[in-house]
Amino acid sequence: MTSAFDPGAAATRATDAILRDTLHGTARGVVVDSPPGAGKSTLVVRAALELADAGRPLMVVAQTNAQVDDLVLRLAEKNPELPVGRLHSSDADPYDKALDDLPNVRKSAKAGDLTGLSVVISTAAKWAHVKVDEPWRHAIVDEAYQMRSDSLLAVAGLFERALFVGDPGQLDPFAIVGSEQWAGLSYDPSASAVTTLLAHNPELPQHRLPVSWRLPASAAPLVSDAFYPYTPFRSGTGHDDRRLAFAVPSDGSGPDRVIDEAAEAGWGLLELPARHTPRTDPEAVRAVATVVRRLLDRGGAATSERSPDPAPLTADRIAVGTAHRDQAAAVRAALAELGVTDVTVDTANRLQGREYDVTVVLHPLSGRPDATAFHLETGRLCVLASRHRHACIVVCRAGVSELLDDYPSTEPVQLGTLVKFPDGWEANHAVLARLAEHRVAWRPS
């Protein structure tokens, strides 16, 4: 029934409208919601190039140095002639060394050295220290939903108008001290930059990118329903467009069976027996590592609209996601024992914005005696469940459903604050219900 829906056309329409508002609109700001893999970076690069073409000096604000370097590289790839400034901190190794190979990228810790360049890119933290006499005509604020309101306050004086792009479903920014005293204020400094922006400028044009090019047809509906109930999106590919196959047949073990299930269905749940464990549950950690090892050993090959010829599933196309740093460390150690070194293992926070063919996720609630607000945070699960192009394999102990049911919900309520939807509880249940359809129960020996 997807014949009526042409994802390419829908995405183009959205992009055109965004660029029209950005380049020719009258509003001071344009907000773009971008679900996982919907081409946010492509949009940012394109908008930057068009603004530069139009002769409008542009500053770009990203949230981390990695994001800044990534944007610089993408810009240079699209237009090697474009003079780009990379404003960086005065710490050691402030930027990716790959930037040194780009002849038209100038790097400096002083904004003054970069004046006159078409595009200047830096982190919000660095921009906050910059002073200008004349504001930039235009700015692009990337990952605006992960930027805190106070951080926008520090840089908003630098530009006249801006394009704000981000993913509302990922992890919210947070403060390390209480900020209840400002809850309900339109400019609560701990809220997200977009929340404050829209509270003060509700008339700004808001767009969203309607198509995820990353998530396969098996994943987009679930991720959209569970995490973006009011701003649905679709997959840019159909069920037959992607295929994950393995040269080596299953040995019948749990890990191999779950790999086959996930290759077929896009999702796989490797369920270990119920047990309360510390965060670094050795069995679960070993199970994650084993799945990764088998993914590599079985000669996986991914076919997709990008590569009609099967592309080998190599270590750099696989990632492991966890909730906590010590879990990531434990998985890395377990992988090293199995001789695997090049697979990315990181927490949800650090996997934001990344993309892989296959992800293996240690479920945030696996083995926990209690659920906490941290583990129920919608954004955490959303990040972990939306990094893959082909398949996502979740390793989890049984009993999470009961754990969710027993979660006490007596949250305080601050007057005047927007209720964040969806609720983590609901989203967790939705994901679990789907995973249960692709369950492989396994008792490691």
Binding site: A183, R279, P282, D370, P408, S409, P412, L415, G416, W425
Partner: protein, 385 residues
């Protein structure tokens, strides 16, 4: 979620047995229903609430009386405030509903305030349902229902609920109004109290939705759509240090979803009841020893939060402590202890007397114990400062 009739009857019978002969069921009010979400994992609380056992009386009979009480000063002030809010046929209250929730509607110049008195809760419930229907049909008008009575099906038995007020808007939608005597100071209020009020209101919203569904599908009203129950309720409180009313709209969608789930789960009390030994009874007239045994036959999941949410908490705390449960120190304590659940198990594992050193929980405990001992001066300390 109503149970099939026969099953429901059998369950009701079983629950009456649990209460004891001639002990009337303690009516569940909205506060009690909202509290179901406070510790949904507790089977003891589920069965006692589900069976309508008076937990305060039970706690007293067990020798650990509940400590909940209300100061008469607060009581008097609360009543006086509510009366003030509703004075003049609810003019101020309706003004607030209009201002905070429905600004595009015609301002409420005058409102219907139907008479809702009737005999008994069933009578009042029927009267309320009738008034709601009339008000809904008379669209274009504002109607204030002062202390209506709503019935909500809870595990097969009706619970009667009495919200402070329900307002029917000109567009025929319904709003729950909750009047509280804690202040809104410069626009904000105690979040814990607002949260409790939101959970309580969510119960009323659910009850109203059942009535609305019946209106929409009733024999006469088969064609009319069910009226909309608004998911933003109006919380009315004293403004700053005055007793002038002010109000805030509160979105209760989350609380509504949580309570709906917990109500649906209440049907599992039948499974819990089935696990009880035959003849189990929670009548406060029984000897303490029998009562203690009866209570002990249903597992509890005590946590310190229970102290402010459950009448039985002090009893359960004493039991939890006596059994050495680490959770008596807080739910979060267990997070890093893996399968270890008692104080003695944890300490002996930390001392290296028990436990598998390859278990990361045990290994972490030993490292923690070693580091702690070192810092407290039983071992050489590195100069960190």
């Amino acid at each position: 979620m109503p149970l099939p009739r026969t099953r429901g009857t059998a369950l009701r019978h079983r629950l009456a047995e649990l209460r004891g002969p001639d002990v009337p069921a303690k009516a569940l009010d909205a506060r009690a229903l909202a509290a179901l979400a406070a510790n949904p994992g507790c089977k003891r609380r589920a069965i006692l609430d589900g069976a309508g056992v008076n937990k305060a009386a039970l706690a007293g009979a067990l020798g650990s009386p509940s400590v909940f009480g209300q100061s008469q000063f607060a009581f008097t002030r609360g009543n006086a405030f509510e009366a003030k809010v509703k004075a003049d046929g609810g003019a101020e209250l309706l003004r607030l509903v209009h201002e905070k929730l429905d600004r595009t509607a015609e301002p409420p110049a005058h409102a219907h305030v139907p008479e809702l008195t009737a005999t008994g809760p069933e009578g009042r419930t029927a009267r309320t349902a009738l008034a709601l229907r009339e008000a809904t049909e008379a669209s274009g008008e504002w109607t204030l229902l002062d202390h209506p009575m709503l019935a909500l099906d809870v595990a097969g038995s009706p619970a009667f609920l009495e919200p402070d007020a329900v307002v029917v808007h000109p567009d025929s939608s319904w709003t729950v109004v909750e009047i509280k005597s804690f202040p809104m100071l410069d626009g904000s209020a105690d979040p814990a109290k607002v949260g409790a009020a939101a959970r309580q209101s969510a119960v009323y919203v659910l009850a109203l939705e059942q009535i609305a569904a019946r209106l929409g599908s009733g024999p006469e009203g088969g064609a009319t759509p069910a009226p909309r129950v608004r998911h933003r309720v109006l919380l009315v409180c004293p403004k700053d240090f005055s007793n002038l009313p002010t109000a805030s709209a509160v979105d209760v969608r989350k609380q509504r979803a949580v309570t709906a789930r917990q109500l649906a789960r209440l049907t599992r009390i039948e499974d819990i009841a089935d696990t009880l030994p035959a003849g189990t009874c929670f009548s406060p007239d029984l000897p303490t020893a029998d009562l203690t045994a009866a209570v002990e036959s249903v597992p509890a999941t005590y946590a310190p939060e229970c102290l402010s949410a459950c009448e039985l908490a002090f009893h359960c705390r004493a039991r939890s402590r006596a059994s050495g449960a680490v959770t008596s120190l807080g739910r979060s304590v267990r997070a890093e202890l893996g399968g270890l659940t008692t104080v003695e198990d944890v300490l002996s594992a930390a001392r290296g007397e028990t436990g598998d050193p390859d278990d990361p929980a045990v290994a972490a405990l030993r490292r923690a114990a070693r580091l702690r001992a070192e810092a407290l001066g039983t071992e050489a300390v590195a100069p960190c400062h």
